[in-house]
Subunit: 101 residues, 2 copies
């Protein structure tokens, strides 16, 4: 503890695992990801109808998932289509799967 530099203690992989897991750490974001995963893609509006939160709150959650790299959004006026970010999704599976051995 004493000899460790806090800012660089954790490996990039540990940080990445935590980032992914944190993004999964809310029921509504689990629900969002399940929707996107089963129906390849979804529009913001359709999800807003499904989910028990305000549209502005949904935007916030979608943004967190985007920041974590788990989803990506495409503007298709007048709506926005969201999909799983397949590459990072695979990485998340690999990293978290390796942890949960």
């Amino acid at each position: 503890m004493a000899s460790h530099n806090k800012s660089e203690y954790y490996s990039a992989e540990q940080e990445q695992m935590a980032r992914f897991a944190k993004a999964l750490g809310h029921p509504v974001r689990i629900a969002i990801l399940q929707l996107l995963n089963t129906q390849s893609c979804c529009y913001h509006g359709d999800m807003a109808e499904e989910l028990p939160i305000a549209k502005s709150t949904l935007s916030q959650h979608l943004n967190e998932l985007k920041d974590a790299g788990l989803i990506q959004g495409t503007i298709t006026p007048p709506s926005v289509k969201y999909c799983i970010h397949k590459e990072n999704w695979k990485l998340a599976k690999k990293l978290l799967g390796a942890l949960l051995t």
Copy 2:
């Protein structure tokens, strides 16, 4: 959204997934779990030496992991031994693995 009762919208499984994931959502908790996982069990004191946080903060993180059901602690005076909670660990693997298809 309008027709949903917020308090019962999410399934028990979704809540459980989020609870597990949330517990994994911090680098130090990832590090703790890796320690416990590779060396079957660890003493609080040994982890406190490894990790870049105060002992009291470590206790808090261990408590969160315990609340989430991912670890269990046994008092072995004068120290406390922590281990992975194998059954819930398997459940976490199953649930998160199923999500990250």
